[in-house]
């Protein structure tokens, strides 16, 4: 019973921590744009929190390089269970246009497990909203 209630409240108010793993800023500004009045993802209870320790959902943008790889792993470890990871953008999903650069990986799933990919370069704020809601099971 209590578990059901916790799950319900978790679904109603996902707290999001955003980490930029060597992204070009394009996905990041679209993520912030989805918080602003036009799109307002806070309608669904999603809040950007400043610390990974408070977060339910970790949003990762950017192609991971050798410098941010360990930081990403450490941030992931700090997110309490149950945790979900959303990869925004082509870079986070598979390396995007930076595939083959000497200091760029091929997507964040090589570093941490990913629950949802939102492809796009960058995805529209609506696409980000769709991905977050799909993760929560609100839309099919």
């Amino acid at each position: 019973m209590l578990e059901k209630l916790t799950n319900w409240s978790r679904k109603r108010s996902p707290w999001v921590f955003h980490i930029n793993a060597s992204s070009c800023n394009g996905c990041d500004i679209e993520l912030v744009a989805s918080l602003t009045p036009r799109y307002d993802i806070e309608r669904f209870g999603a809040v950007l929190v400043p610390s990974p320790k408070h977060a339910d959902v970790l949003i990762v943008t950017g192609v991971v390089n050798a410098q941010t790889r360990d930081r990403l792993r450490r941030v992931y470890e700090q997110v309490p269970e149950p945790k979900h990871v959303i990869a925004i953008g082509a870079c986070a999903a598979a390396g995007g246009v930076f595939k083959g650069c000497y200091n760029a990986g091929q997507g964040i799933q090589d570093v941490i497990p990913v629950d949802m990919f939102i492809p796009g370069c960058p995805p529209r704020p609506e696409a980000i909203m769709y991905g977050v809601l799909k993760l929560l099971g609100e839309v099919k």
Binding site: S22, N25, G26, C27, D28, K53, Y102
Partner: protein, 433 residues
């Protein structure tokens, strides 16, 4: 990052143990809200910053190396994705450097379309920055308003190019898409709306106490220092240097479109706010003029995939300042060498100079002031050199600290931090950070 300090950091702070008044503050590299991860080592004396050592490279991907193995056209899309905010001007600058190596001329209509997109990009970037400035100064209302107005210009960009951020408009010797039909009236009307809003925001920043207190007399640097440190863009213009590539070395259609270069000598963060809002109005006027006087003709000249040997450089005025591309070709399908320099790299020495002598509470505002393309304001680990204890603040907590420092009455109940409450370190330890 709130993991235990690693060995290197321990050694660094151990070196400072001899001077008990100084503390070392590693600053970065992960930030929750927006910016790219960067890392600064700050040496503090009480509240004041004495020295800053940058460590960039968290976003280093190795584009210049990758460019040497990719065809010329594909490089354009890669360099466009150097930065998501000033993406168009990167491809424009790289494209211009390559165009100079070929003997083809860019059609006049394409030059005008390039100018329109570049100026729209400047409008959106400046609005973004004003919003962020509001956010970091503790004035979130401004952030929400400005970002809502920013959607207006993004809609126009999307209608022209098909994407809100990475326009992918440029091709060598031309642009890939023509202006849509019947857009003229819509653009002129929206530009008028944005001009009105920018004037209104000038009123807001000049009268609202929240903004005035956080920005006036903060982040001062002399014109001579800025010139010596090779500052570019708004960071040069706000101390009175008339450094603007659009004026000095006109590219695209800037020699035909009436250009208004704004400089000020007020020289603080507040001046930067006014300067960027004024520039926004000037850009809106340029877009209006360019749309009304758009010449007819072709938009693109097709060029062969092999670029003649030679080397050439090009510079353009991005929203943040001058960007520079150097291209060397050996007459093949791929470049021999491409060098790109972003405005933040040029402005970083000035930013470090600005930070010196500022208090901890001003870091978010001052670092945002240079409009960093990276610039991370988060996850500050604090080390008390006396007890060797460390703790971490997130960017949000740092922002809160800044707000409390200036407006103690607003949130005393939150942390109990007030101005003049003894040395920072002791206070934070007591409050359990």
């Amino acid at each position: 990052m709130s993991t235990p300090p690693n060995q290197q950091r321990r050694e660094e702070s151990a070196g400072l143990m001899e001077y008990s008044t100084e503390s070392l503050v590693p600053f970065g590299p992960i930030h929750p809200a927006l910016k790219e991860p960067e890392y600064f080592k700050l040496v503090l004396e009480g509240e004041r910053i004495v020295k800053v050592i940058p460590r960039i490279g968290y976003v280093h991907r190795g584009l210049e190396k990758a460019a040497e193995s990719r065809p010329w056209v594909q490089n354009m899309y890669m360099f466009e994705r150097t930065c998501g905010i000033c993406s168009f001007v990167h491809s424009l600058c790289y494209g211009q450097a390559v165009e100079e190596l070929t003997l083809y001329q860019v059609p006049r209509r394409a030059k005008y379309i390039r100018t329109i997109i570049a100026e729209m990009e400047r409008i959106h970037s400046h609005l973004l920055w004003v919003g962020l400035m509001g956010h970091w100064a503790g004035f979130d209302t401004l952030f929400m308003w400005v970002w809502n107005d920013r959607e207006v210009v993004l809609d126009l960009v999307e209608a022209i190019s098909g994407n809100r951020v990475h326009k992918s408009m440029n091709a060598f010797c031309g642009v890939r898409r023509d202006m849509p039909e019947n857009m003229e009236d819509r653009i002129v009307e929206r530009m008028k709306f944005l001009t009105d809003r920018a004037r209104y925001y000038r009123d807001v920043i000049d009268t609202e106490e929240t903004m005035l207190k956080r920005t006036e007399n903060i982040g001062r640097v002399s014109a001579d220092t800025a010139e010596k440190l090779c500052a570019v863009g708004p960071m040069a213009r706000y101390v009175g240097l008339k450094r603007d590539v659009r004026l000095n070395d006109p590219y695209a259609a800037y020699d035909e479109v009436p250009l208004d270069v704004i400089t000020t000598t007020q020289g603080d963060v507040h001046a930067l706010l006014r300067l960027r809002l004024d520039e926004l109005v000037a850009s809106a006027n340029m877009v209006t003029y360019a749309v009304k006087n758009l010449p007819d003709g072709p938009i693109r000249v097709k060029i062969p995939p092999i670029i003649p040997a030679g080397e050439h450089s090009s510079h353009c005025e991005a929203p943040r300042g001058e960007i520079f591309y150097f291209v060397k070709s050996s007459g093949g399908r791929t470049p021999e060498r491409v060098k790109s320099r972003q405005p933040t790299m040029a402005n970083l020495p000035t930013a470090l100079e600005l930070l010196k002598g500022q208090t901890l509470a001003d870091i978010p505002v001052v670092l945002t002031a240079i409009d960093p393309c990276f610039g991370c304001m988060d996850r500050m680990s604090f080390y008390d050199t006396e007890t060797n204890r460390s703790w971490t603040w997130s960017g949000e907590e740092l922002r809160q600290y800044g707000i409390n420092y200036y407006f103690p009455e607003r949130s005393k109940k939150q942390h109990g931090l007030t101005k003049g409450d003894g040395p920072l370190t002791n206070r934070c330890l007591r409050d359990g950070f």
